[in-house]
């Protein structure tokens, strides 16, 4: 199927970023964006494990109406820590800090990011923030919900809120510095000939993501700082007993935390926009619309936050404004889905694992996005707000969307990162397992939500049990789907076949250099003289460029 079956036996390049220097210091003090990306890969995977263990315990606990496993206090800590670990320490840094870090400089033909030391610093900030949060987890845990609503978090909770808040505050600067680095890099470091409209859509998506990072993160940082100060020094910013307004906390919190959803999903959309044209071997349909919609999502995404607050008693005017704007942000997402689908038309579609992930992403993201319309709809949100409908919706976006894109992206660029190929059949099995397991886990939760099961319940009325059991059963399939890639990808690092510079083959600049790339990314500064995703004028790819498709599978 894939070109790799017929590719010649490649050898790894003699010098590359992995063997340039040795020793622990050469990694911990590196300023090479590719090595920093791998540092992130390790630490982010660690937090994914932690969050995943919490998720597993949550699902097991919910097998019976009265709660099968743990006490209410423990359950509350489990879902809070699951949320904090997954959102702040896995989803937000996952694609930008790993794939973005690794690929953006190579994709635009630069030797590194504009500020390599700041890049390393942002990883250390992430680690320090992570340590604070782990400290919170291990000394009493955290039971406020990842949203830290006041005055529960700032006054009433008896858990280790303060270190967690400090950890997330610190971690915010990691995000800000990464975003800053990307924006400057894209502006000033592009290779000759790499015009804005020749940028890969992955880079566009990360540019949009970076906008959200630098504009939103400082607001949540100051908000959590205020909540932390309120808790430590008994101040009254958000404490109604002292005249503060808890709803103001929600405004400030969601000003970041809604756009943060776009930090998670936009990079994933960027990954999909790379995978689909590569495995359909044709230019992406509507390049400028996909690029523009990324920016539109980032900008409009900032105008919708109070749709998380329709039933807080916010003014009807605010609710109408925010609901209206929320419907507008749906349009650029829809544009992307339509364009990806149209790209498949008359393609030459391979069934490689990255493509399976990408198509799975479109399906799940479509469901996740469309169910967002339900929640943005004022009349419906009165009923489904804070129920399992919300849980299902955002897991479709974040797990079905962001994580599928992340895992798909890892599969797509694994040969570039490690220089090795992974087992083909196994990788396709994993993709399908993930897709099936995911739907089994989360689709029942839509129904649970409409039936009225509120979220964050350690026990529930017995009529909700059937759907909960179904969901837990699905979760076990899902867990298997995550474990498989971890095993065979690790295996492939040592035993996988050598990939060669461009195994798929793909058109991006990153595939013009060695796999793994040399420390300086390119032996000579590249000159870009082709349009993005153009297979027809690229004889260097060794494909049937310019040749009309064979009648057997061409015109319809």
């Amino acid at each position: 199927m894939s070109a790799t079956l017929t590719s010649p036996d490649y050898k790894l390049p003699r010098d590359h970023y992995l063997n340039a220097t040795y020793g622990i210091r050469s990694w911990l003090l590196t300023t090479d964006h590719k090595r920093i990306a791998l540092l992130y890969l390790i630490s982010v995977t660690f937090f994914f494990f932690i969050g995943g263990i919490f998720a597993t315990l949550i699902r097991i606990h919910l097998l019976t109406p009265s709660g099968a496993l743990v006490s209410p206090e423990t359950y509350n800590k489990l879902f809070t820590m699951h949320g904090v670990a997954m959102i702040f320490f896995f989803l937000i840094p996952s694609i930008p800090a790993i794939l973005g870090n690794f690929l953006i400089p190579i994709m635009i033909g630069a030797k590194d990011l504009a500020f390599p030391k700041i890049n390393l610093l942002s990883w250390y900030i992430y680690v320090v923030g992570g340590c604070f949060v782990l400290y919170s987890f291990s000394t009493g845990g955290l039971d406020t919900g990842w949203t830290f609503y006041t005055p529960l978090s700032s006054v009433y909770s008896n858990s280790a809120v303060t270190p967690a808040v400090i950890g997330i505050f610190i971690n915010g600067f990691s995000s800000i510095l990464t975003g800053l680095n990307f924006i400057v890099t894209v502006h000033t470091m592009r290779a000759p000939g790499m015009t804005w409209f020749r940028l890969p859509l992955f880079v566009w998506a990360h540019y949009a993501t970076s906008l959200v990072m630098i504009l939103g993160t400082p607001v949540v940082a100051i908000t959590l700082l205020l909540a932390g100060l309120e808790r430590m020094f008994h101040l009254g910013f958000f404490n109604p007993a002292m005249g503060g307004d808890p709803i103001l906390f929600q405004h400030l919190f969601w000003f970041y935390s809604h756009p943060a959803v776009y930090i998670m999903i936009l990079p994933s959309m960027g990954v999909i926009s790379e995978i689909i044209p590569t495995f359909a071997r044709k230019p992406i349909f509507g390049y400028s619309f996909i690029a523009g919609s990324s920016i539109a999502i980032a900008v409009i995404g900032f105008l919708v936050w109070a749709h998380h607050m329709f039933v807080t008693g916010e003014s009807t005017y605010a609710a109408l404004t925010f609901s209206f704007l929320s419907y507008l942000v749906a349009i650029p997402s829809a544009v992307k889905v339509f364009n990806w689908t149209a790209t498949l038309y008359k393609g030459s579609i391979s069934w490689d694992a990255p493509m399976l992930y990408a198509l799975g992403f479109i399906g799940l993201f479509t469901i996740g996005g469309l169910t967002g319309l339900f929640l943005a709809c004022l009349g419906l949100d009165i009923h489904i707000h804070d129920t399992y409908f919300v849980i299902a919706h955002f897991h479709y976006i974040m797990v079905g969307g962001a994580v599928m894109g992340y895992v798909g992206g890892i599969h797509f660029w694994w040969p570039k990162i490690t220089g090795k190929l992974y087992p083909e059949v196994l990788s396709r099995v994993a993709a399908v397992t993930l897709f099936v397991g995911f739907n089994l886990t989360f689709f029942p939760q839509f129904i649970l939500g409409y039936l009225g099961m509120p979220r964050r319940y350690h026990s529930y009325p017995p009529e909700f049990q059937v759907l909960n059991v179904l969901s837990t059963a699905g979760a076990s399939v899902l867990a298997l789907g995550y474990l498989l890639p971890m095993i065979y990808l690790t295996w492939s690092m040592r035993y996988g076949r050598v990939a060669g510079p461009n195994p798929w083959p793909a058109t991006g600049l990153e595939w013009k250099t060695d796999s793994p790339p040399p420390t300086e990314n390119f032996h000579v500064t590249p000159q870009v003289d082709w349009e993005p995703y153009d297979y027809n004028n690229r004889p260097d790819l060794g494909l049937a460029a310019g040749r009309p498709l064979a009648p057997a599978h061409g015109d319809d």
Partner: protein, 107 residues
């Protein structure tokens, strides 16, 4: 980069303008203009801030890109303030706040 060197004369003019603005805003604050006191204070502050940004920070002589960055900062700050105002400005009609005598304040 062939950047423009701003002459010290301009800096001195701006310095004087800023000092004048400070004097004006203090004087305005000591007089009663009702609701307009806030507007005047913020307007003078904004003029001063714009002078600093345009001349001390060279925004006037900077590339378009830098100017766009500044506009973005202002725009997002306005989003944050204005959209939150849609809630607070209209809220009182929908709900009442607790009276100050409420026991909650005593705790």
């Amino acid at each position: 980069m062939s950047e423009r060197v701003v002459s010290p004369k301009i800096y001195i003019v701006i310095l004087l303008a800023l000092l004048l603005g400070t004097y004006a805003t203090v004087q305005a604050a000591l007089r009663d203009f009702g609701r307009w006191n806030i507007v005047i204070a913020l307007a003078i502050a904004s003029i001063k801030a714009i002078l600093v940004i345009l001349y001390f920070m060279h925004a006037r002589y900077s590339p378009k890109r830098t100017q766009l960055v500044i506009v973005c900062a202002a725009f997002w700050l306005i989003i944050l303030l204005a959209l939150t105002a849609t809630d607070y400005a209209k809220r009182s009609s929908d709900q009442s706040r607790l009276t100050p005598a409420n026991s909650l304040y005593r705790s």
